[in-house]
């Protein structure tokens, strides 16, 4: 038998590449050439926390040229280094979005809503997938009892509305963080904004909630907002940013929302400040507290911007942390 050598492993591959180009679709196939399928599988994944079912339904992703100040307090080279370490492309940032649904057995709760169905066409299906994936997973939007919003950025609230500005979850009570509501609905705060980005965040929040006729229920951090679902203040990314801890039986998962953006950058380097963090120092303090807790308690984390299905355990690693993705379980 030929033994394994680098030559056998890689020279073989090169020879094949050449051979393939010489014999593309030739031969005597008994059937038509197998067409490429070209579309992804439905993006949903389900796991249990105690007796509760968590359904992760991805909204998709956004890919863009890495801005020079994507991480405001480190050089772009360092960011590219972290991307390379994760085998991600240089000078390119891909941010996934994954809202979830929690079924407690008595309540069906959606946590955050994605970039909105209107965005599906705009992005040629790259994002705006949440409502479609939720449906494919067997969950009817009409059955959703509660929508919990973590904070008011567009990728979390825009999916509250259909493309024609109707309620995307028509029978649901919409819960919003009280601190977030107070801040973004305050005209004085809005008038203080100096950057186009922040003006845009205010305008978009008002667009969405005005379409809901501002019919929302503010909720306080530190409260149980549904059976087994506790709100925890995790401010910094936005003033009222709130995470949830979902618990059933002996199990818990921290639905962190945006305590970190992509883990390859901000879990490994909790001191890095994402361009999106409104109060970066506070966001970092929150991040370190949350991740110390996750590592110490061995609590699962569900991360909105983690690669799908976005659920992991956290370990300390060097000066930061590392996420250990939960193995994909084929049965509940």
């Amino acid at each position: 038998m030929t033994t394994l050598t680098r030559r056998s492993l890689f020279a073989g591959a090169a020879a094949v590449g050449a051979a393939t180009t010489l014999t593309p679709l030739a031969g005597t196939p008994s059937r038509a050439a197998a067409p490429l399928l070209g579309n992804q599988a439905p993006g949903w994944y389900r796991y249990k926390v105690g007796s509760y079912e968590i359904t992760v339904a991805t909204d998709g992703k956004s890919t863009f040229k890495l801005p020079d100040t994507f991480v405001v307090n480190v050089q772009k080279d360092a960011v590219n280094g972290a991307l390379a370490a994760a085998h991600m492309d240089k000078d390119t940032m891909t941010i996934p979005y994954s809202p979830i649904a929690v079924n407690t057995g008595s309540k069906l709760i959606v946590v955050d809503t994605g970039t909105g169905e209107a965005n599906f066409e705009k992005t040629k299906g790259s994002s705006g997938q949440f409502h479609g994936n939720l449906k494919t997973s067997g969950i009817d939007r009409n059955n959703v009892d509660i929508v919990v919003i973590s904070h008011f950025h567009g990728d979390h609230i825009n999916g509250l509305l259909t493309p024609d500005n109707k309620l995307a979850f028509p029978n649901a009570e919409v819960l919003v963080p009280a601190a977030e509501w107070k801040y973004f609905m305050d005209d004085g705060e809005m008038s203080k904004q100096t950057t186009e980005r922040m003006k845009g965040v205010f305008a978009n929040a008002r667009r969405v909630f005005d379409a809901l006729k501002r019919k929302v229920t503010p909720y306080e951090a530190g409260k149980e907002i549904a059976p087994g679902v506790n709100a925890v203040a995790t401010p910094g990314h936005t003033p009222g940013h709130t995470s949830l801890i979902v618990s059933s039986g002996n199990s818990s998962v921290c639905v962190q929302a945006d305590v970190t953006n992509h883990p390859a950058l901000f879990v490994r380097n909790p001191g890095w400040h994402a361009f999106f963090d409104q109060d970066a120092n506070m966001a970092e303090a929150t991040r370190r507290k949350v991740y110390d807790m996750l590592a110490t308690e061995k609590m699962m984390v569900q991360g909105f911007h983690y690669p799908f299905p976005s659920v992991a355990y956290i370990e300390k690693a060097g000066t930061g942390y590392r996420e250990i993705p939960v193995p994909w379980n084929p049965v509940l």
Partner: protein, 324 residues
Amino acid sequence: MQFTRRSALLGTAAVAAAGGFSPLSISSGHAQAASNGITGVYRYKFGDGEIVQLLDGARTFPMPDTFVANVPKDQALAAFESLYMPKGQVTITFSPLIVKSGGKTIAIDTGNGLGAFEATKGAVGNTRANMAAAGIDPKSVDIVLISHFHGDHIGGLKNADGTQAYPNAEIKVPAAELAFWSDDSNQSKANGPNKGNFANVKKVFDGLKTTPYDANKEVAPGITSVATPGHTPGHMSFVIASGSKRLVVQGDITNHPAVFMRNPGWHLMFDNEAALAETTRRKFYDMAMAEKMPVIGYHFPFPSAGYVEKDGTGYRLIQVHALT
């Protein structure tokens, strides 16, 4: 309220208590546990072709005493426990794949089979269901490539009733593997866990027409066989090349990567020739690392692809698993 460990934990405790008072029977209108199966399909473009990774399932079982043959059980248990697996238990996942290349549909390994689906109540044997979810008809498969003859790789060649699962496919098997398992005299020489496989190999291949293949051959368009012996005598891996891109489908060079890549000297009880398997493993990962070549692993956590990096005295898998 600020986030403190106390607030998080108090909350949890309070919730657990509250949970006891409000079980699943509460009056509420709509919520019903949506217990459909899990979709185990992950698809990506590779050069001009396509890879469709399929999840056959996972088995969880108490760790056998000699699961890692050359390491004390305590140490092996600790390694698995550090992966957040239930104490004393081992979970192994199985993941075959479909490659679309050069106008052909090629299956690489077949999972535990539909027979095992019933026997395990759906824990394994999900390959066919996931193929259906991916829109792939088994009748459309042109070539089935088998890496080696263990039951979790060949079990899906037949349906539960013994008929052919891929009726129109050429079934290609490693020549060295075929020779080994066809020779009854090898049964006594095989290590313990491998002895039982002889009967299963006979059963699966009975009535099936196969084409033996050798190492370093183009066994399907763009796919080359590479000898990686040790786990079994004729164990093969596959290099898939398309355009300038290459990846390698390792088969069972390691079992769970977080344990056996970090500890390449650990000998899995299923390795027929453990020392040879270790030599193969070290060579293979040194090469994959040097080439930054992505590796697909049959027993890697789904969707089963990643890059190899040095980690202390061993290796680490950086999984590439972004869905979108």
